[in-house]
């Protein structure tokens, strides 16, 4: 029996993974400020892990979350507290903290069974505010709004000291996340998620328990967000409630929108695109604009992100990943490329 996977081009995947791990060496050879670029890529990597999880929830299962910064924060604070105050080894915290964050996902998943669309968005947003207040209130462990110093990641005797080391840690996480998420969405689990998104009736009629699978989706999404949080806490060495703003949750949504809702690679591309834009393009643009008028960095950021989201929704609703698919088809058919196909 011929299977769909026989002719899939799996060859490119190891090449891509190798490229990811060779990139720092390339950057080092090319520029002296490679450490800054690595720092930016590390942030992108952490957000990639989170947006892949968010995409499983919002893109695949169709449950919108405006509170993902809260899961991110829970993962970060849990790991910081467990490792630095509880004496848990980092290796274990890397597993336990995300799982505990997943349990918080289940807690917010309960109301989600009865809420839809905008209302769910508001409920998760409220969850974000609650978590932020709770972190400030639990001063004893979290130092309140002063922020918390966090130790470096330490795995089997090796300490990740700088952005160079962290890059390899974070991108190992990214590769793992992407592989796991891809496997999930192509299995029974992913099909159930998509069926719930597109037709709850059909899903129930084939025997899918809506409540169960919605909860699983929240749990998995929470685990990924928690994992991203753990990496964030230990690689940035300092966390405070200011990092985990409602605005961050909105940026996560922008990332999956820009990348392409409902595709794992899309979530990765979106996170990369937005972080590069934020850290590399916007400062340049701001400097240029500064020659005419006085501006604040934050204003420009909001303006540009808003504009980008707007433009993507109107002109490229399938996101960057959809754009890539179009380009690929275009080149495959190259001499025969009726432009109509792409209108």
């Amino acid at each position: 029996m011929k299977g769909r996977y026989e002719d899939e081009k799996l060859f490119w995947i190891p090449v891509l993974i190798a490229a990811v791990f060779l990139l720092p060496f390339l950057l080092k050879g090319m520029t002296n400020s490679y450490r800054y670029y690595l720092y930016v890529l590390n942030i992108a990597g952490i957000y990639m892990i989170l947006t892949v999880g968010l995409d499983l929830l919002s893109g695949y299962t169709g449950l919108i979350s405006l509170g993902h910064a809260a899961f991110f924060a829970i993962g970060a604070y849990l790991s910081a507290i467990l490792v630095d105050q509880g004496g848990l080894p980092f290796e274990l915290s890397l597993i336990i903290a995300p799982l505990l964050t997943g349990l918080f996902g289940l807690v917010i998943g309960f109301p989600a069974l009865r809420l839809e669309g905008m209302y769910l968005g508001l409920a998760t947003m409220g969850f974000g505010f609650i978590v932020k207040r709770m972190i400030i209130a639990l001063r004893q462990w979290t130092q309140g709004s002063n922020g918390l110093q966090v130790s470096s990641p330490h795995i089997f005797g090796f300490t990740f000291r700088n952005d160079w080391d962290n890059y390899f840690l974070i991108y190992t996480g990214v590769v793992l996340t992407v592989v796991i998420a891809r496997r999930m969405v192509r299995s029974k689990l992913g099909r159930a998620f998509m069926a719930i998104r597109d037709s709850e009736r059909a899903a129930e009629a084939v025997g899918i328990r809506l409540a169960k699978y919605k909860m699983i989706s929240f749990f998995i999404s929470g685990v990924f967000a928690g994992f991203a949080g753990v990496l964030f806490a230990h690689t940035s060495h300092f966390i405070s409630t200011d990092h985990f703003d409602i605005l961050l949750s909105v940026y996560f949504i922008i990332m999956i929108l820009v990348g392409g809702v409902g595709s794992i690679y899309g979530a990765v591309l979106g996170a990369l695109f937005i972080v590069l834009l934020d850290n590399l393009a916007i400062p340049l643009f701001k400097d240029w604009l500064q020659t005419f008028i006085t501006v604040e960095a934050g204003d420009i950021q909001s303006l540009i992100f808003g504009l980008i989201m707007f433009l993507f929704i109107i002109f490229q609703p399938t996101g960057l990943y959809g754009l890539w698919l179009k380009v690929r088809i275009y080149w495959k058919l190259f001499p025969f490329n009726p432009r109509k196909r792409f209108s």
Binding site: D198, A202, V206
Partner: protein
Amino acid sequence: MPDLLIDNLHIHFDGVIALDDVSLTVKSGEIFSLIGPNGSGKSTLFNCINGFNRPRKGAIRFGGINLLRKKTHEIPLLGIARTFQNLQNVPYMTVLDNVLLGAHLRISKRDTVKRWLSRKQRVAEEALALEIMDLLGIANFERKYLLGQPFGIRKLVEIARALVSRPKLILLDEPAAGMNDQETIEIAKIITEIRNELGITVLVVEHDMRLVMRISDRICVLDSGKVITIGKPDEVKQHPEVVKVFLGEGTDA
């Protein structure tokens, strides 16, 4: 294989009586058609069997189990699958995945975990669907996204999704609605194949009288939630009240 027994089923929505003491039996291995004008309660009856609607009175028994006590997602577990009149499939999934969706209960947790690790398991999982897709003649479409497929294909995908769960009883809600003559003939062939080759009992709601008369073993005529008559196609065709309420005068379908 068990029979489907519907016993004094009664359901109303805010004063509109959708089903009024409906009793009928679908025997194992039979192609049983439900016909009637719009709003006569055919789809409501399907929704009751399927658990989307909860009747106030009566019982639906399948293999000694009262379906009204079961939750919607437990119905397929008993071997009852259905299709929808308004297509309910997932546009951003391939045709193959849409069909595999129906195999949800056949794929165990262990198989899913195995599938994450081994390619062989993936191919085995796909074989479940390809078998049925071959039968319906849509195997060529396996890798295509459902979005953008013609209506006829989406309709067949809907039927394939129901079949892949290996049901004992399949409920087809207007399988030929919106199909052209050629496709209707194809559908008739498929429905007979479902019964003859797979041995599945078929309960079908349909408006196309030629199709109904050709394939059915027995027909039930509903009007305003009441059963008018149940019988063989020829008997039903002759029934005076049926001619009046449904077929209309001068129709020799």
